[in-house]
Symmetry: D2
Subunit: 318 residues, 4 copies
């Protein structure tokens, strides 16, 4: 890994940009203004409804060389090689099988983990609520149980295969990593797209590169605290492009600390208000290094009944 460098002059400019974007505000609309969702009352899939045969065919046609990019980090209890959020665990316990002379024997492992929310993972809509109200105004009292949610579980997502577009903001800025807490703006996104000669289309997997994933397993404290990512304005611009999902190579897709007054407003906007999936903690540096800006993006969340998300291992293919 080459040294992580940042230009001081650029950092100053970024600080100004952040100041501008923080003038943006966002409030969660009341239930009667956001429900039913545009996908209909009782809908549980949100942007997953865009996973139509024509979208799959569009993605398949982008596969020309068969080059596959693995975008997921390894899942390991060892914090020297993985990142697990504070308050979560990923513990593996190998279950013993004493060898049998000249016979077959079996090994397996107990895993204890917040399976929906560790490592490279996809957020389903039951992950977030406003007050007691979820996407499409499902209510906690109606759908919550001690062992999963009756509605909005990750088992409704299904495999997603769609056109993926890399928006390489770190590349645009000429840095390995965006600065701490850098708030990506709509202009940043549009310039990065223009630089790659790309346009977003409805149903895309929008894949945003901050460069931050190189801290995973190296400096988890920094990675998990105050990352670069999209702010409210960029998120609003993205919503207007009608994506199937938004993915990034950082802890939370969105910038941290969050813009006032709410923590993680982009989570709320995407998962509660608009029903758009998020994927966090991707490895995107190889995509950028290969100038892979357009590709088939494929992700297969586990069908955890009532789960708030799933660890995933998505790929990009071109």
């Amino acid at each position: 890994m080459r040294p992580i460098t940042m230009l001081a002059t650029f950092t100053m400019a970024l600080a100004l940009g952040a100041a501008t974007s923080s003038a943006q505000t966002w409030q969660m609309p009341p239930d009667n203004q956001r429900c039913p969702s545009k996908w209909g009352a009782d809908d549980q899939r949100g942007s997953g409804n865009m996973m139509k045969p024509e979208v799959v065919v569009r993605a398949a046609r982008l596969i020309k060389t068969g080059e596959v990019f693995e975008l997921a980090a390894v899942l390991s209890p060892d914090t020297r090689e993985s990142f697990i959020n504070t308050g979560r665990v990923f513990n593996i316990y190998t279950k013993p099988s004493p060898p049998i002379p000249n016979g077959r024997q079996v090994n397996e492992e107990l895993v204890v983990t917040e399976l929906g929310q560790i490592g490279t993972q996809l957020d389903a809509f039951s992950h977030q609520m406003w007050g007691d109200s979820f996407y499409n105004c499902f209510k906690l009292g109606d759908i919550g149980t001690r062992s999963g949610f009756k509605k909005l579980g990750v088992e409704h997502v299904g495999s997603l295969m769609t056109r993926g577009v890399l928006i390489d903001v770190a590349g645009l800025k000429g840095v390995d990593m965006l600065p701490t807490s850098y708030n990506i703006t709509p202009d940043d996104l549009q310039q990065a797209l223009a630089r790659a000669n790309m346009k977003l289309e409805p149903g895309d997997a929008v894949v945003i590169r901050t460069g931050w994933s190189k801290l995973m397993g190296k400096d988890n404290q920094r990675y998990g605290t105050a990352n670069a990512g999209i702010g409210i304005a960029a998120a609003q611009w993205l919503v207007a492009q009608d994506p199937m999902l938004i993915a990034a190579d950082n802890c939370c897709v969105e910038v941290r600390p969050s813009e006032a007054p709410h923590s993680l407003p982009v989570h709320a906007m995407m998962l509660i208000q608009h029903g758009i999936y998020l994927i966090e903690n991707l490895l995107l540096d190889p995509l950028a290094a290969a100038n892979a800006h357009e590709f088939a993006f494929i992700v297969q969340p586990l069908k955890i009944k009532g789960g708030t998300g799933s660890a995933v291992a998505p790929i990009a293919i071109r």
Copy 2:
């Protein structure tokens, strides 16, 4: 689900077939006759090495209509809707987040499970050993730890995308489900392929339908005890076709009870001797109902460091 029916006369014929196939024998070759594997000393990926760009492109070209078949069962602690092997668990514990008035709140779940070996799942090579010797003769004393295997872990598999071929043995026999403990023969496989006008090619995902998955969550006791599946002879014939993986809609891919003298000889043959992945507990009835015999098969195992396998949610696309 329509009634599960079987013809008595057919059952008798099957019994004769089973008797014939049980004349087959197989023994695990000694280490010096099976190692190094054909993929080279120190190889950890076995048939995963066939996941080449041209194989991916071949699969992508099979995507014509964009029709997606979800092949995975739901993962649930509720045995009325899922199947978990005896001695394993899949327990979900929703972690509480009391709602905050007019504020965002987060939900997640602790999951306690044998994550490599539950539900629809892919077996990696660390799952099985002969004596203390694994695929490519890695030794337990060298690669075993209390928290995963140093070699042969499922994180080495990566996403697999290849041509998938359905071998519909239940369809060939004109039954909803093959009889209890029916031992699928090489002839069965070849006739089912001929009936669909298909031929296997090296690197294929071979997808065998027994019809048994309809018992999952309905009669787990029967499903998990004495299932129909391939026997030693069929497995040997399949190895000769050079597949990337073998998948089935039953508990273990292979017939149970096992042919004497070893339990689960097909597991040993595939995972230890030849380095060919297995996928168990698929849902294949929709594929058969749609006459989908050839398709792009995509599976994304989680990158569990040192894991013996992974729960998965594969798809077929045509």
Copy 3:
């Protein structure tokens, strides 16, 4: 174990008794009528405050022969030898240690369990709330966290050693087990005490025998569904005797199904209203067989920070 028998005539009489007692009613008093508790505002120990040196000395003086009765059931994942409530688990996973030739090696086990609420166990006050209000009117919003309670955790209980008195209601009635859902009345308690020539004193461990524990691991379904136990009237009479704790050889101390209108009113009365500990799932048949009606009762809950209770292994000594 001798056969479980019940007299039909007795059963009829019991049914009449139940009808009488169901005329009793109980309602949780509003917060301002039950708080602060008699042990003072901010008190977290309730009846545990009676664990004074003189109470310990009183108990020690009851130790004359040194005969010890183990009152706890074995903790095992095997339901043929233990009882675990539906929705809870007690799973042991031995962590492997391959033997070292001529060297020391260590074994241990991962245990996954609702540790406060399985097997023979003591209920602490954080186990139950009315609305969002606990014993002494601590509020969920103030003391709840994702990993234990800030107040009222079982770590405040400490070891309890006090005079124990067996109230053998099954013995009084001349049966091995009280009938299903038999509602023990104040008269039953007083007659059983008189039969043993015993009187309750403040600070006692009241140990009530229904005979039901012999179903544990034998018929868990029956044991866990509709057990004999004290009803509201008996509980109110016991509260008036000022006990340190109430223990029984059944699932819940109290009768099930519960008397209308609330489920488990005795839990609410003891743990929320009065701050009196409960111990469930004891083995009391040996005490009865030995005519041990008065003894030193000793229980050592684990100091689980913020825990709602603890698995325990209490003893009686005389």
Copy 4:
């Protein structure tokens, strides 16, 4: 907590003492020299067999004032208030119960932990083996399973109540804590006993104070690495006194690093060779401060079927 101080001159003297004791050697006798144990072939309780009525009565007679000393540390996932060995966890997950208006609601917690080996804990005999051979020469192949041991499990221990004797080595040396890796000698033990005017008797709970427990939750790294404790010679002297158990206020009872050539030889000597229980991680400073040198010692291990030990909360009463 008052400052932790040590005298330099004393430290030098201690270093000499350690040098002397390291001249001691110990080897595990071969199976045929150590089995059957003195408690008979097939015995599983070892020194627990000394838990006789007369021993209980002897202990009860030591209870004069009723003063109770709680000797256990709090069990918490928070390392700022507890000590958990590296490679083990004590994780609490509160299971949610949304409050019900004017109704009873229940709370409980899932606990994931190496329950036999965390916090203040008692070691049972299945915890340690030499080669594949345990106490009384039970063999791993015969008694090991994936979910506990068929023999020597902690459920065989039962509650222990016996005379406890504090051996305050830190007090003898006039320090808050013995120096790092200080190897307590037989002379130290005898002088500390003489200073308190005490003699050991067969069946005693020997309670050794090093002063180290004050590091728990304060400096776990130091506490868990190179603690003061008894060495081989002191252990051999203690075995000759015929104790029921040996307990201490440090990580492992015995000194670390271990004397060559074996790691943790005192564990092997006590748990494998002689069948004497160990209790670790006690809080003993209050006992010393109160000059409580003789008392009733009571410990109630949980009845974990096949468990290698149990978290405990022992008390001393005088």
